[in-house]
């Protein structure tokens, strides 16, 4: 009986390894600074060799996702590698990235006209081992397209981020993780007036072989900080907005 169990465990480990999850036992756990969120992933490690999908519909969500990704890029690009940001309608303001510890000049922006080109460039870039990460802004991704991207990632080990603008949460893609980042009211320290650190509701809608969950996160100037104690708050994007005019 024990032998069978061992065999299953071994097989599960192998499958995880093939899917791009590095097992913790193989060495020192690499933390990416996401705190408790990382425990949602199999083995408790943020999968770098994977496609992460972000659902962004409202511009507020998009800005929050940009900030969250920028925070991740700060860690991913620590070794000096470059990053490619592909888009058809980019609004990201390069100067703001320095607030997230990312050197904006190390990001190569590719602004093309058609979605097809975005996919082509994203795939080529994901195959390029010299890059740390690739961010692609897309309207929608089909299963086949996402599978191609995933295959490219598996061979090179570049982290892929897809900012998806269609709200179809059920759309099937092969992304390892599906996120939704929405802004939350910030809290300033000691009741000072004005805005505090950017705070987000980080929803991990889907994780392959992991546990989805919802977290509150803050970019505390230099790193992510998880906010445990929270006043009763509403999530920005779940509210019906009153239309005027």
């Amino acid at each position: 009986m024990d032998a069978k169990k061992e065999l299953f465990q071994k097989l599960q480990q192998d499958i995880l390894l093939w899917q791009g999850f590095k097992s913790t036992s193989s060495g020192k756990a690499e933390r990416i600074g996401l705190g408790g969120i990382e425990d949602s992933f199999p083995g408790g490690v943020f999968p770098k060799k994977a496609i992460h999908e972000f659902i962004t519909i409202a511009p507020e969500d998009a800005a929050a996702s940009d900030g969250f990704i920028a925070g991740l890029l700060a860690v991913l690009m620590e070794n000096g590698a470059a990053c490619v940001w592909v888009s058809t309608s980019r609004r990201l303001f390069p100067a703001s990235l320095s607030l997230f510890n990312v050197e904006p000049e190390r990001i190569i922006f590719i602004d093309v006209q058609s979605e097809r080109d975005v996919l082509w460039i994203a795939e080529e870039a994901l195959k390029c081992e010299g890059l740390a990460a690739v961010v692609a802004e897309l309207n929608k991704v089909s299963l086949i397209e996402s599978r191609r991207l995933q295959l490219a990632v598996e061979s090179s080990g570049v982290t892929g981020f897809i900012l998806r603008k269609d709200g179809n949460k059920a759309a099937s893609t092969v992304a390892t993780a599906r996120w939704k980042i929405s802004p939350l009211p910030s809290e300033s320290h000691d009741g000072m007036p004005g805005l505090g650190f950017p705070r987000w509701q980080v929803e991990l809608l889907k994780v392959r072989n992991g546990n989805p969950g919802s977290f509150v996160l803050e970019w505390a100037g230099e790193k992510f900080k998880e906010v445990k104690k929270l006043n009763k708050q509403t999530i920005w994007s779940d509210l019906e907005r009153r239309q005027i005019g």
Binding site: F93, E105, D111, V112, D117, W120, P183, P185, S186, I244
Partner: protein, 502 residues
Amino acid sequence: MQRRFVSIWFSQLLADWQIIRRPELSDLPFVFAAPDHGRMMITAVSPLAFGFGIEVGMRAADAKAICPGLEVLDDKPGRPRNLLRGLGEWCIRYSPIVAIDEFGMDALLLDVSGCTHLWGGERGYLKEIFSRLKSKGYTVRLGIADTPGAAWAVSHYGKITPLIPAGEQVEALLNLPPDALRLDEQTLAKLRKLGFYQIKSFIGMPRSVLRRRFGEDFLLRLAQAIGTENEVLVPLQVPVAFSERLACLEPIKTKVGIEIAINKLLESLCKRMQSEGKGLRTGVLTGYRIDGKMVQVTIGTSGATHNASHLFKLFQLKVDQIRPALGIELFVLDAPKVDDVEVPQEEMWTSTPGLDDKSVIRLLDRVAGKVGFQVIHRYLPATKYWPERSVLRAVSVTEKPQASWRIDKPRPTELLKTPVPIEVMAIIPDHPPKFFIYKGVRHVVAKADGPERIEREWWLDQGEHRDYYQVEDELGGRYWLFRSGHYGGEQKYKWFIHGFFA
């Protein structure tokens, strides 16, 4: 090396061209005519019309009187030059230096030094050119000699042989009329008046006498024909230093075939570039099709490289643009722009990643090859406060920032290209708004920071300053708003939204 020149005279350039285009004209007399001072003057004559005694320079009306069935076609200025250019480009297969004869505008001059042995000697070479052009439908007369002038003379006026052996151009010229020297009409008339019907009758005269009577130009032409003065041909296409040719036994029609050809060309080109320490920046692949047309694709690299497999990948993106039609018989790969290539020392272990990482440069080359260089952007900090001007486009991938990025002031993650007007309610002047309406949605402001005043650079453009506020609505959305202008100023102030914070 003994220099040799070939002159190809198209005696009925326009007529031949017209017959090739419209074969039904081959048994009709026709002429080309162009308006000149209100009359139609004949500019070119077909062989049949010539038989009727019609000549260039006659009036079209007179010619019609001589030959009632005469077809008069419109001539366009510059047409002979265009035709010669096309024929000259076709002739590059025989020699890299092909020039249009500017004097008569009806001949091509080829510098064939060191080319003829490839066709089995000069006789075989001339025969090849003659038969190829004849099969196309052009009547040509050829001449080969040590100087372009002598070759031109023999092709136009020679009666014995087109082949003038090395060093014998003077003897060949002796019996030709002075017209063979490419002289202007005035000088020719003077020569005829004086009874010089052959070159031999004045070639021995003292130069000072000839100069006094016929001018410096006459002496230059004579010297160019004999070979005492050098004549420089202006080639149609300037030969490129790094160029490879691949002639195919059979015309290539398939994608696989084209790719094999590109691979072969790149292999030999890269080998040469590597030995000279050069790298390709621009590459042009030209395919000569058997229907006489050319197909061309161009690639560019962001850094000099002589890596054949990388260059092949760049060409591979463009292979679909090559239309082989009936087949390509000759491939030419040129590298019009090359740079010195830096050969970095190979590192024992993995190299440090970064912007100048080789794989990144190659990726950008591929993107540029498919979509274009203009889509790739990199930004550097600019020492300006005005948000739209605070980032600078980097010129190259490796350009380093001159200043550091500012992190003391909040800047939005997403910036709108142009600020969008919003409706705002603010209670006290110079305070952040109480609420604002953007895209029909009312946002009640809960927290706000600001204002941060940013003045316009008056030496760059005119207009109002902006007071920026960072606001957060009740639900947590963070926005960058600004008021343009003063409260109660001469001009009405306006509110705008300019970005979204993370």
